[in-house]
Amino acid sequence: MEKNLEDIFQDKIDREIRIEPKDWMPEKYRQTLIRQISQHAHSEIVGMLPEGNWITRAPSLRRKSILLAKVQDEAGHGLYLYSAAETLGITRDEMYEQLHSGRAKYSSIFNYPTLSWADMGAIGWLVDGAAIMNQVPLCRASFGPYARAMVRVCKEESFHQRQGFEILLTLSRGNEAQKNMAQDALNRWWWPSIMMFGPTDDESPNTIQSMRWKIKRFTNDELRQKFVDICADQVKILGLTLPDKDLTWNETRGHYDFGPINWDEFWQVVSGNGPCNRDRLNARKKAWEDGAWVREAASAYAEKKKSEQKVA
């Protein structure tokens, strides 16, 4: 019987029929989705912190409004994703608990510090660019609520990358100090950005199953290559350079070759040793703990009103 259900399920997936929350699904599919969607949601809200740093220091009122709107969008994206995960039978509080206790992961890129205004540009262009590269195929993910959340996210995300590029472009056309600021930001954000696509395909054992379930549509290395190709061209418009001396066009492959990624650094940051892991997690925990009395009071007030209504 179980086998049969699994065949029916895989058959639906193969025919591109979306799976909805109440449909039968293998437990492992459910768990994989919960893990992936909640990680993604955590990345959005932890990702608010490095950029949030600069809202109060944005150099013009226009930039300030844009940055605030962008970081706020990330809260929205986290919310859409938590909601999608909640349809799989886990609560947002449970997911928070996993984040706060360190059991759940989030994108490692947010464990790097934002040291200058140009970092807002680099994050928009590179980090959001890499995120979009990952996210666009997810709009066709086999799980309906996830795919729908991603459609909404991608629609909103498109201005994020543009505003980042615009920041870098302005800096690259500015004075010497600004140009240096922009180059320095690229030097620091480039490698972590291309690590965002995750380990190489031969080191990524879950990819095959995820692709069979059509949660993933492309492998990590495919997406990474696509991203490198695009950035290698766009950086020319900025008149800046990417910090990789091996970055060269390979005519035979029809792609850019790039230098070796420091996977040791990647795994160190994933396991908690990035420059900001502790700060990020503490900031999230503090917000959550400081907000406990607020959430409790609102619940208590709502209860009170409900019982008053019943009496009346």
Partner: protein, 254 residues
């Protein structure tokens, strides 16, 4: 209108628009500090929306003030290149966020003030001020509703939230009077004399605090000086942070 008026009137109009912009910018800046740190995701988004509305209002008022000023003034020279004594915002806007109780109560006092002020400013003889006020009034109506509901919810929530609201009330109350002390630029025909909105404000405050099971403090002593440029110590830190890039790289475009 600006063309036919006397120099004093024009200068007061500039001051007035700048003052209204300062109010909105400084509180918007404070609210934006919450982004990423709110008590629940939905409210993180809500307070950022309010901050964005206020930033938008500030930009509208500054752009108008800059246009009247000429000489290369822009919204950014006003926001980024003036020092503490030049800022004419009311004191309550610059106070620290404190906890969520302090933030929502500050918002409530301020939004109620803006609500009645903008309602009248829409009838200003100065068309530009009236137009800005008309757009902003809709935004502020929502801020007032949002903040009133939070004041009521927390005042009448749990013992702890009630206690925190009382503490916030105790701190903020002495800064409310500053909003109603009129400066010269607020007594011109194009402006709304804040004394004229005081009764409405007081009534609204009384009604909401009562529903929140809180008591309007009897203390009538008030801190003052914001509109003249005499501020609390807090504003200097806000400006140091906000203006850092513009000060460190003079003349750069961003």
């Amino acid at each position: 209108m600006a063309d036919q008026i006397t120099d004093t009137t024009k200068s007061r109009l500039i001051h007035y628009a700048t003052h209204l912009g300062d109010n909105a910018l400084i509180l918007g800046h404070r609210n934006s500090e919450w982004c990423g740190h709110g008590p629940v995701l939905e409210q993180d988004i809500a307070i950022s929306n309010i901050a964005l509305d206020l930033l938008g209002q500030a930009r509208n008022f500054y752009q108008y003030a800059a246009e009247l000023t000429g000489n290369g003034a822009t919204e950014d020279t006003l926001a980024y290149l003036r020092d503490v004594p030049d800022f004419k915002n009311t004191l309550i806007a610059e106070l620290p966020n404190g906890d969520w109780a302090q933030t929502v109560l500050r918002q409530f006092f301020f939004s109620a003030y803006q609500y009645y002020l903008y309602r009248q400013l829409q009838k200003s003889g100065d068309a530009q001020l009236a137009a800005i006020a008309e757009k902003a009034w809709k935004e502020v109506s929502y801020h007032l509703r949002w903040s009133s509901e939070w004041v009521i919810r927390l005042g009448d929530g749990t013992e702890e939230s009630h206690e925190r609201m009382n503490r916030a009330l105790d701190l903020l109350w002495t800064y409310t009077g500053d909003m109603f002390i009129p400066e010269a630029y607020e007594t011109e025909v194009f402006a709304v004399d804040p004394a004229r909105v005081k009764a409405d404000w007081e009534q609204k405050i009384k009604q909401v605090l009562e529903e929140a099971t809180l008591t309007v403090p009897e203390n009538t002593w008030t801190q003052s000086g914001g509109k003249k440029g005499i501020h609390s110590e807090h504003l200097g830190y806000i400006l140091a942070e906000m203006q850092f890039l513009q000060r460190a790289y003079p003349g750069a475009a961003w």
